[in-house]
Symmetry: D2
Subunit: 506 residues, 4 copies
């Protein structure tokens, strides 16, 4: 668009001055919109087909419009479609492309019975749904690696921590599968966000619907949506579905940050329980011995980015009047950024974890070193000697205090025997040995969901099934979108071949 | 608890010094816990019944424990149970109540096969689920008022706004029902949060499960849960269900803030489109003519509180190692506060809206005053004269610019006719009158979900049905909880009457 | 760097596998670093000069190093320096440029006695300080426009609002100058952030300082810093100065959002008190009569972005261990983004406000229409009739209620006279006229800082002086940086001319 | 206040219905206001004195008003003043107390020339300033403990960490003093927030100033303020000073959370470098051997609370129109809560740190165990052998890799010698021993601010001086407030003794 032509822009009618260049820079949304070019073209194709199907435009006009939209799509696919910032957004870019091709007379009919208000949120929903599927799949891959690693370590003992202090012996498989279990709820939240995303607002027009006899359900079907957002004012003015997606991402990011924190911790020299793969760790420019868990550190840090993006959209929405306001344009930058961030984390976490090796010797050494089995000793007294739990707790607590002051551990079986005897409880050394043995500890935890190898095995299996089901749902959702795209393609080819629209299944 | 007794506290065994008084103040959670007394007692009752049912404790011990738990419940119901801060939390308070009553021997058995780690999150889930139901019901009541008001105004014209500028004529019913439509998604999010809340972690013990042969499913059933959180480490260490509930509340609050903003705006002198009820507005100490929309203003402001609370829990969770850490204690203050805030807003919003009267004359006056029907004129030219949309847009844009410069509006039919003629389009005054009449405008919007009175009527009906369904689900959830409580009561009465536990259905 | 060469990267020594490509993508910081190329080169130049001055490297090595650094600077200035992502960050890019030019023997000496840890935070401080000066200046320009506009309207009456309701007559100059007054505190916060930013961490090395006898004060001086961050561990590990800058920006953004909100409000059809310039407003694609305050709307919305970025950095810093962690790399993206956002707002706000015209007739009309002078009537009774304030409040409150019910205003002087008489207070119509006249109201507010034209005039003058002082400080800070750059340049030219370093003033 | 009296409330004049009970609950601010009773009374006393001094009220009226205000103050001091929620806020409570005592005629004059709008922000500023001084002092105490501990450990070696990996030997004194250094910037931010807080808005009245000839500077002086907020509209409508205080608190909290994180880490079994005092740690109900760093954990967690509160106030302020809106009432809850939280942390951190003992043996053991001195070896080669840094880095990196693969450390001097020789560098075992000795490492770091004991000693001294200066400033600020209170008291006693006001110095 030439400079002298600027005042002729779309809404120039009543304006006596052009938009100032800095104002154009400030208000354009090309960067965020550039992700939605494919969606915008598809949306226009479906809209045009519907306009012809409802006889609002002629089949000749449709053919011309579809010709130029397909051309735009090809150009875009070949990386040759440049969005022009002076046209403000992706919608005007695509429309102007058609108008310049088909001429203003015919091209000008494409925008009948729609508005940029319903277009932009349609495009955004189409783009978001795909990204949610991507993230669901990337998360499933991470869960699969966690469960695979976990299944190899249901008998590998390590200290279970609370307050970052040794609490009880657990298995490494139990530890790893806990994250797969957490992430399953993230999958559910992503699916819930998807459900409220994949609904079609197109046809709401500016805010009030339109006086043209459009068929909103047809457009929705052609675009692969699960249904409509019926209320026109709600359809163009609401962004809570985006805030929900961002919430799901922020919660997922905090869950990831907890795993990241444990990876940092457990790979320190002091813990030494695991070693990250060289291909997913960094060194230092001045300290040659360093092997830095940079991916885990950056994951921790980028959690802040996702939380910040959630705050951004919620603050943006706070006290904005209903209906469409320009404020809503600021919905996409935080959303795209958060999607990229979480997607990026998942894509490196999966191979990093797959390549991480557990130092099972160090794990075993630590589990015996610091009284992790003390609870078991107390439980034994409750179970076998019939003492109240609180009494046993006091006996064992005193015993531990004495051992610490003597520089001993629970592996000093004779001393333990002696101290128990002093507290009135006679146990054999064999009993004590068996009680405090970490592997025996695992095997004694019989309750559902406990660290017992069988329980962990069952949980792993259940989670594997659940992840497989999620994968099926994600695939089904992808297929629905793909089929809708093919359906639209078939109609386009039919029309471009000058065949009557009435022959097409709609 | 006497001062000299402090070192005898529960975990005193290995400690040589008492917890300093400021440290106790810093770490106790009595204020947040005091909301969960009923839940903690119920949880202990169910746990004790299960322990006896699985023969981990005797029926005699059960009877004594249940006696004192019921006593605690009665004391609490009568407002006579004071939590003692030196006991740190609600769990120790209830347990010590039982131990002081039943003696340490028997009372000490209550804590068998559980930990404060699984107790606290069980209590919190039980409390949260009830509050989510409360909020769901309060929101349904607000939706019902909105829909009732909307149903009376499907023919009341008002300006539809975009960018806070007049856009198109809509009906007040269309405007009001848009919020009921938005809130329906909030209902869905609350229900989703409920689903992930109402699962039982009890039996996870500290982190690893327990060596006692407990029956987790029985406890879950007695407490009215829908199922378990099976993985023990996940069960005690995860708080994402709380973050999800807070997200749902934060999004609901932003939706409410948008309605609040419009109430403030539309009740200004300048807009004058509605009047708040005196009983829900405030005056000024120095300016007697003021009628201030304080409830709407505070709602806007308190949205910040809810968003801040969401940030609080997400930041708290960021990079906390898995399993239980004391950090997690800080989950409840933000959650309770956000629940109170949103609940408080809903409870005043519903009567305030019910008492709000629309100034339909002012609405009608405004809708005609500022070219809201200009789109309709453009659409007429497209539809009836077959011109491309963009051309019509330019014609009408120029026409509006001229009218503004002349201080005229679209109601100056002759001038409009003249200007259209100059642009090459001949219309009769009757046609113009009909096109720009706001009520006629409403009736021309034929698309699904539009502002047409029939469409709005249909949307209102659909939403009323949807709200009724939500109400049914909420009632069903409440009943499940109530029945579980009754079931527990029946067993307690049975046991207290010294009848054998085996006679009870479990 | 060729692909086979990757394992030779800086810290490759102990690594047996190359960094995986996705891991490199995940960890590189080229995008955020690309803003700091000039700073990184300058930092290296100053460091190299200091190394030679302290005889840690030879003057010959210095000459070679400076030659290549100047070359890099020229390439960068000409837009020909492309950062290579496989080199991870800007520091390695610049250093490798020198090493490739000067050879590994000499080029390898540049990194003596420094680390990327102190380099990155030095670069960031240098870049941030400049951006803070930019924003200070852009804000001063906005204040100047506000004060200029205000000075023209010290006698222009408009309603003063509280709760978005008419409260008292004020002048438009009073209204506009309030924002200039608020922004003055933002200037102070920006200046405080600058103070804590412009301190030099270079020489802290990795975390512990260095065993080379460096001269940290010389480097700081050459780089235009005001002083040092002495403690090495603090110097490399702290980012609170960035959080402070982001806080200052977030608060400034909220202040701007309040002005934006009033611009949106006052430019509605209903208020009609001001008109935005066409060059800073947008139209609608479907509604030709619209003139949308998009810049103000986007400003409102982007406040959320800045708040979100503040949350991001605070969350990132939460619970990160002291010293350097990779997490800290995530400091710059939020900072740069927030600086851009606020800078962008200021750059459009100033011309937009300069072009905004007040509709003084509408202002005057509104101020008389809704009892804004009621307080004045009450104050008259207090002052002249000696009644207690609360009694007068009740009299006037009742009078207003009656007038509203009769559809009258305070301009119905006879009715007002009559109602006052009924309440026991006899006033002449002349007295009443004078009391409720808006202009007379302004002139009666005699207190310091009131809306009285003289008071507003005095405030405007004081603020103009204060803004001029800020401008001087900003200029002085800029000059200090500029002189330091020139000083460095002079030394470089001297050295490149093979003259001895000892001749240079340091 | 009897129920039938409610419609007579202050602003009842034009209202036909009482405020509904839930609306009153929703809008009252008694809880947050109850902290400002002393300030509100003092503010009223100063205001009344000023009114009499400027002859707006008589000295007789002043005497009566002061009598009842002093009475209120005594009642409050004795814990007998109960705020009545039906009076909405603290201002009405105090005023009604005076009116009920002095009668409506005289009591009603107290509110002359002021509004609740300027009162509330005056009270809040007075309360906030005191809390900022409290926190400054508590932080100074923490810094003093850190510096005291640091001064005892300038020669105690420990590993310096980056990426939670061993980087270089540092001293424990260096580590601890880094936090004292960070906190010094927090002191500066608190002081900056104080500066913008301690300014007097009283006299701004509702928004526009007043027609009474008040003396704002006198009131400000009597209340101990440093100056005025001159612009009336800005004075009542701005809360950025609160957002600034909250920012300073949030940044301080994140700095504290970093120290907390290191305390958690270093007190684990695995690190074992420090032991928290029993009086500031907790045990476990089920695991007797635990000693949990609960205070550090809760500090980490509560950082989220403070960040959340900052988000709350920023979101509240976002897009609120200028001047006073009821939204601003929501400023105090987050502010008070954040002040309490940070104050609480500081009050336990100081004694906890004072009682923490360092395990210097473990520190020494760790520093030698994992190549922390590798950088030093590289630096030696640069310094003494004249090799480029990058070359040395490669040599040492390879050497470390070999040692790791052989299960050796740098303490295997012969092997190190051998490997260096293979790389072409001949060193004696004595040289190597000296280079890698951790204590020798400390002593070699000669740069300003390094971990060298003398450097650390100098930094500690400088920081002690700086903290002492902060203490002096805090004391001076406290004294100014105390003197102003005494000055007001003297005038009150003088007036109550029926002596003429003109005899008082003002």
């Amino acid at each position: 668009m030439a400079d002298e032509d600027k005042s002729k822009k779309l809404w120039g009618g009543r304006f006596t001055a052009d938009l100032a260049a800095p104002a154009l820079d400030f208000t354009e949304s090309i960067a965020a919109d550039s992700r939605m070019i494919a969606e915008d073209i598809w949306g226009s194709q479906a809209h045009a087909i519907m306009l012809a199907h409802t006889q609002i435009i002629s089949e000749e006009d449709l053919r011309e419009i579809l010709y130029w939209l397909e051309h735009a799509r090809t150009e875009y696919g070949a990386g040759r479609l440049q969005l022009r910032p002076e046209l403000e957004d992706v919608h005007m870019n695509v429309e102007v492309f058609v108008r310049e091709g088909a001429g203003p007379e015919i091209g000008g009919r494409l925008h009948t019975a729609r508005s940029r208000n319903d277009q932009v949120v349609t495009d955004a929903r189409m783009h978001l749904r795909t990204r949610l599927l991507d993230i669901g799949e990337a998360l499933a891959a991470l869960q699969e690696v966690l469960l695979e690693q976990a299944s190899q370590h249901t008998e590998t003992v390590m200290p279970g921590y609370t307050h970052t202090q040794h609490a009880q012996p657990i298995s490494a498989g139990f530890w790893l599968s806990a994250y797969a279990s957490m992430f399953q709820r993230d999958q559910q939240r992503l699916a819930a966000a998807y459900e409220r995303t994949n609904l079609c607002p197109l046809g709401a027009a500016a805010i009030a619907g339109t006086s043209f006899p459009i068929d909103r359900e047809l457009t929705a079907r052609l675009l692969g949506f699960d249904g409509l957002v019926p209320h026109a004012l709600d359809a163009v003015g609401s962004r809570d579905f985006m805030a929900e997606a961002l919430s799901a991402l922020a919660i997922l990011a905090t869950n990831l940050s907890r795993l990241a924190e444990e990876l940092v911790l457990f790979s320190t020299y002091e813990y030494g329980m695991l070693e990250l793969p060289d291909a997913y760790a960094s060194g230092s420019s001045i300290m040659p011995q360093k092997k830095n868990p940079c991916i885990a550190e950056l994951t921790r840090a980028r959690t802040g980015a996702v939380i910040g993006r959630l705050v951004q959209i919620l603050t943006m929405l706070k006290a904005v009047p209903g209906g469409y306001n320009r404020d809503l344009q600021e919905d996409k930058p935080p959303l795209w950024d958060a999607l990229d961030t979480v997607d990026g984390i998942l894509r490196v976490f999966t191979p990093m974890l797959a390549g991480t090796s557990l130092n099972t010797e160090r794990m075993e050494q630590l589990v015996g070193a610091n009284f992790a089995a003390a609870t078991e000793l107390a439980n034994f007294l409750v179970r076998e000697r019939g003492l109240p739990f609180r009494t046993c707790h006091e006996i064992v607590g005193g015993l531990v205090a004495t051992l610490i002051s003597e520089g001993k551990t629970l592996d000093d079986y004779e001393r333990v025997q002696q101290l128990l005897a002093e507290a009135g409880e006679e146990l054999t050394v064999e009993e004590i040995t068996q009680i405090v043995d970490p592997t025996a500890c695992l095997h004694r935890q019989v309750s559902l969901g406990s660290t017992h190898p069988q329980q962990v095995g069952a949980i792993i299996e259940n989670l594997q099934t659940a992840v497989a089901e999620i994968r099926q749902q994600l695939t089904a959702a992808r297929n629905q979108i793909k089929h809708a795209r093919h359906h639209t393609d078939d109609i386009i080819q039919h029309v471009l071949a000058s065949s009557p629209l009435s022959e097409c299944e709609m």
